[in-house]
C-alpha cells in the first residue's frame, strides 16, 4: 500500500516537474507586497526582527508588526519580518536584512539592543529603529522608540479610583526598574488626583512613589506568582488590580476570574483582545502603542524629504497617541467620569497635570 502511495507521489512530482519545465515561466514567491498606491511616499523596504517571543506573542512583536502592516497598506512600502529563536539569532537576522539591503530595520525589544547597536555602527547607511529602548548616548542612525507610559498609567489610576467599591486599588510589578515603575508611579498619581477631585480616600496597595517601594514578584514569567499576589490583594480588600509584569498578570486575571469580585487592568496591549478569555474582568488596559511608534517611524523614513534620524528618540505620549488607555468596560464607571477623563487627558498633554514621573526620576538620581 505504502509503496504504491510513494510511487504515486513521486510520479506526480515527476510529471509536474516536466510540465512546469514546459510551461517555462517560474513565478516569484509572493512577499507581503503592497497594493500599488499613489501616496507620495518612497517605496522603501522594511524588515522587522522579533525577539524570542515570536511574531504571535500577542504583545511587543505582534503589536509592532501591526504598525508595519499598516504602513504596507497605507504607505505602499514593502515589509517582512524574521523570527528569532535564540539570542544568537538576532545578529543573523539583522545581517540577513542588511544583505537584502533594506532601508529600515526594526528590532523589537531591549534584548536586541547590543546586536542592533553593533550592526548600526557597522552600517551607518542603514536606518534602524528599536522598540521600547533608547541608547544613551544616542546612535546617529538608530531611532529609539520609547513611551511615556506614566501618562497612560495616570489615566488608568483615575479610572481605577472611580471604579473601586472597596476604596482599595492595587498594583504590582515584575522587577523594580524604571520601565516598570513608570506604570505604577502614574497609576498612584492618577488615584491621588481622583481623591483630590472627589474628596475620596481611595488607597493604593503595592506601590508607594515617595518610598520607591512596592510589591514585586521578581520575574516576568510565573503566572503562579501573579495568581498568588492577586489573591493576597483581594483578601486585603482591593477590587482593582494592575499587574505590570507581562504574562504574570494572566495569573492574576485567572485568580480574579475564579473567585473574585474585582477588575484587572491590562498593560502594554489591549487585554480584551490579546487575553480575550478574561475580557469580562478587564477594566481597561494601559497601552504602549508600539504600532503607532513603528508606523510613525516608517512614515518618517518613507517620506521623500527624509535625511536621517540624527539620533532622535521617539517618545510616545497621550498627545501623539503613542500611549493611551483602552476603552473602559461598559458600566464600570459613570459617564461623568468618562467625560472627566477627557479633561484629565487634556490636562496631562498641556502639562497642567503632573504625573509625578519627573520628580520620581529626579529622586532616583539623588
Amino acid at each position: 500500500m505504502r509503496k504504491h502511495f510513494l510511487a504515486f507521489v513521486s510520479l506526480l512530482i515527476l510529471v509536474s516537474m516536466v510540465l512546469t519545465a514546459c510551461g517555462g515561466k517560474a513565478t516569484e514567491a509572493p512577499a507581503t507586497e503592497a497594493p500599488t498606491q499613489e501616496s507620495g511616499y518612497r517605496h522603501i523596504k522594511v524588515g522587522m526582527v522579533t525577539d524570542m517571543g515570536g511574531i504571535d506573542d500577542k504583545s511587543f512583536n505582534a503589536t509592532s508588526w501591526k504598525g508595519v502592516e499598516r504602513a504596507i497598506q497605507e504607505l505602499g512600502i514593502e515589509g517582512s519580518y524574521l523570527e528569532s529563536q535564540q539570542q544568537t539569532d538576532y545578529a543573523t537576522n539583522i545581517t540577513q536584512y542588511i544583505n537584502q539591503k533594506v532601508d529600515l530595520i526594526i528590532t523589537v525589544g531591549f534584548l536586541l539592543a547590543d546586536d542592533t547597536a553593533a550592526a548600526a555602527k557597522e552600517h551607518p547607511d542603514i536606518n534602524f529603529a528599536i522598540v521600547d529602548f533608547a541608547y544613551d548616548p544616542p546612535i546617529d542612525n538608530v531611532r529609539g522608540l520609547t513611551f511615556s507610559i506614566d501618562q497612560a498609567g495616570f489615566l488608568a489610576g483615575y479610572v481605577a479610583a472611580a471604579a473601586t467599591k472597596t476604596g482599595k486599588v492595587a498594583t504590582f510589578g515584575g522587577i523594580n526598574i524604571p520601565p516598570v515603575a513608570a506604570f505604577m508611579v502614574g497609576f498612584e498619581s492618577g488615584v491621588n488626583y481622583y481623591n483630590e477631585k472627589h474628596g475620596t480616600s481611595v488607597e493604593v496597595l503595592g506601590w508607594n512613589t515617595a518610598e520607591n517601594n512596592g510589591v514585586f514578584v521578581g520575574n516576568f514569567e510565573s503566572t503562579d506568582d501573579g495568581r498568588r499576589t492577586a489573591e493576597e490583594f483581594m483578601s486585603e480588600g482591593a477590587d482593582v488590580i494592575m499587574p505590570v509584569a507581562g504574562p504574570v498578570g494572566l495569573g492574576s486575571a485567572e485568580a480574579v476570574k475564579q473567585h473574585g469580585d474585582a477588575w484587572i487592568i491590562g498593560v502594554d496591549t489591549d487585554w480584551t483582545v490579546s487575553a480575550s478569555e478574561y475580557k469580562d474582568i478587564i477594566l481597561t488596559s494601559v497601552l504602549k502603542n508600539m504600532d503607532v511608534a513603528v508606523f510613525d517611524t516608517i512614515k518618517m523614513v518613507a517620506s521623500p524629504d527624509f535625511e536621517g534620524f540624527h539620533g532622535e528618540t521617539y517618545v510616545g505620549t497621550l498627545e501623539n497617541g503613542g500611549v493611551g488607555i483602552a476603552p473602559v468596560a461598559a458600566g464600570a464607571v459613570s459617564d461623568d467620569v468618562l467625560k472627566e477623563l477627557e479633561d484629565v487627558k487634556a490636562g496631562i498633554i498641556s502639562g497642567e497635570i503632573d504625573t509625578g514621573w519627573s520628580s520620581y526620576l529626579a529622586s532616583l538620581s539623588n
Partner: protein
C-alpha cells in the same frame, strides 16, 4: 599473512556495521524532507489558488515550484549560493567570497554548540545516564565564563582565553556532577534532578544578571552582563567581515568529539563508563566503582555542555544576556539519538541540525516559510530514529542488524 587477513576482515566488518547503521538515519532524513515538502505545499495558499484557477496540473506545478523555492532557499541559507561562490572565485574577489560563504559559516557557527551539547548527552547515554540538564549546565558555564571574561583585565589572551574556557568547563562540570552525586549516593533519578537543576540554573542566572544583580552591567536597565574583554575572545576566522561569526570554537568542538571518542573507546575510564552504562551489576562485579563512575560521567557530560555555553559567549555574543539560550538542551537529546551516541554520529547530526537551522532562517526570509518547519523536520527525524521499524517497513530494510553494539539509552526508573 593470515593475521593480516584477519585484521582486514575485522576492519571490513566494522565498516559494514557502520554503513548499515547509517541506513536508517539517512532514510529518516530523506523521508522527513519529503514530508516537509508536502507540508510546505499543503500550507501554501498559492498552491490552492493554482488548483482552483489552473486545474490539477497547474496546482501540482505550483506546488513543485513552491517546494523548489523553499528548499532552494534552505540550501542557499545553509551552504551559500554556488553561483555567487563561483563568480567570486573566478573574479578573485575576496570580499564577494566571504559574502558567498557567509551562510555556510553560519551553519558551522550554529553547529558548534550543538556538537558540544550533543556530545554531552551522548556521553551520558553511553554511561546509562539521561542528562536532560545540558541547558542548565550551559547557563552556569555561561555565567562562569562571562565572569572570568569581564572581571579579569589586562591579562594576555594566551592566558585569559584558556582560563575563560576552563571556567566554563568547570561550571558545567560542577552543575552536572551534582545530580550525578545525588544519583550515586541516594539513587535519586537523574532525569528529575537534571530538570530541577535546570530551573535552579535559570533562576540563579536571573538573580545574577537582573538589573542591579551581582553580575549585571552597571548603569543599564537591561538584564545583561558586562562585555567581556577582547583578550578572552575566541579568534574569528574572518575578522574583516564582522557579520561572519565563525570562530575557533568549531574546531574546539571537533577536538572535543575526537576526545570523547578516544575517551570512550580507548581508555580504561571509557570502558568503565560504558560498562556501567550497559550493565551496572557486571560493573560492580568487575570491581568498578559505580558511584564514582556515575559522578565522573555526569561531570564530564556537564563540562561538555558547559563548553557549548563558553564558546557561544567567547566566540559569538561576548556578553551574557538573561534568557540566554532556548532549547539547546533538548535539541542535544535529539542529536545524541540521531548520532546513536557515537561522537562521529553526533558531529554529523549537529551539522545537519545546524544546516537546517541556518537554512530555515533564510527560507523564512525568502520563501516566508515559518521557522517551525525545522522543528517539524527535526521532530519527524527523531520519531523515525526512535521507531526504526517505520523506516524499515517503508523501505523494506532487513530487520535487526546482527552484531550491532546497542547502546542502552537509559535504564528504567529508580533502577541503579
Amino acid at each position: 599473512m593470515t593475521q593480516e587477513k584477519e585484521k582486514d576482515k575485522k576492519e571490513k566488518r566494522i565498516l559494514k556495521i557502520n554503513w548499515q547503521a547509517m541506513a536508517v538515519p539517512l532514510l529518516a532524513i530523506f523521508t522527513a524532507l519529503v514530508l516537509g515538502a508536502l507540508i510546505i505545499a499543503f500550507t501554501d495558499e498559492t498552491v490552492y489558488a493554482a488548483f482552483r484557477e489552473s486545474g490539477f496540473f497547474g496546482g501540482i506545478g505550483r506546488a513543485v515550484e513552491v517546494i523548489r523555492i523553499a528548499y532552494g532557499a534552505l540550501f542557499i541559507g545553509a551552504f551559500g549560493d554556488p553561483k555567487l561562490l563561483w563568480e567570486a572565485i573566478v573574479h578573485g574577489d575576496g570580499e564577494a567570497f566571504t559574502q558567498a560563504i557567509y551562510p555556510f559559516t553560519e551553519t558551522l557557527r550554529v553547529t558548534t554548540p550543538y556538537i558540544f551539547a550533543g556530545l554531552a548527552v551522548a556521553l551520558g547515554f553511553q554511561g546509562g545516564l539521561f542528562n536532560i540538564g545540558a541547558e542548565g549546565q550551559y547557563f552556569i558555564a555561561g555565567l562562569a565564563t562571562v565572569f572570568v571574561g569581564y572581571s579579569l583585565k589586562g591579562v594576555p589572551a594566551i592566558i585569559h582565553l584558556p582560563l575563560a574556557l576552563l571556567a566554563g568547563i568547570a561550571g558545567g562540570a560542577f552543575w552536572g556532577a551534582i545530580p550525578g552525586y545525588l544519583k550515586a549516593k541516594t539513587g535519586a533519578h537523574e532525569v528529575i534532578n537534571t530538570i530541577m537543576m535546570n530551573y535552579i540554573a535559570f533562576r540563579f542566572a536571573e538573580f545574577m544578571l537582573d538589573v542591579g544583580g551581582p553580575m549585571a552591567r552597571p548603569d543599564s536597565f537591561r538584564p545583561v552582563s558586562p562585555e567581556i574583554e577582547p583578550s578572552a575572545y575566541l579568534p574569528q576566522f574572518f575578522p574583516s567581515n564582522s557579520a561572519i561569526r565563525f570562530n575557533w570554537g568549531f574546531f574546539l568542538a571537533l577536538a572535543a568529539a575526537a576526545f570523547v571518542g578516544w575517551l570512550l573507546y580507548k581508555t580504561t575510564l571509557g570502558y568503565e563508563i560504558r560498562t556501567v552504562g550497559q550493565n551496572p551489576h557486571a560493573a560492580r562485579y568487575a570491581g568498578i566503582s559505580v558511584p564514582k563512575t556515575i559522578i565522573l560521567t555526569m561531570a564530564i557530560s556537564g563540562g561538555l555542555a558547559g563548553l557549548a555555553g563558553a564558546t557561544d559567549i567567547l566566540g559569538v555574543l561576548h556578553f551574557m544576556p538573561n534568557a540566554f539560550a532556548s532549547g539547546y538542551g533538548f535539541d542535544a537529546i535529539a542529536l545524541a539519538l540521531l548520532g546513536k551516541s557515537n561522537p562521529v554520529g553526533v558531529v554529523l547530526a549537529s551539522l545537519l541540525f545546524g544546516a537546517l537551522r541556518a537554512g530555515a532562517r533564510y527560507m523564512q526570509g525568502i520563501a516566508h516559510i515559518p521557522l517551525d518547519i525545522t522543528s517539524i523536520l527535526q521532530g519527524v527525524i527523531i520519531v523515525f530514529i526512535a521507531a526504526p521499524e517505520i523506516i524499515q517497513t517503508l523501505y523494506r530494510l532487513k530487520q535487526k542488524i546482527e552484531g550491532e553494539e546497542g547502546v542502552v539509552f537509559t535504564r528504567g526508573w529508580g533502577q541503579m
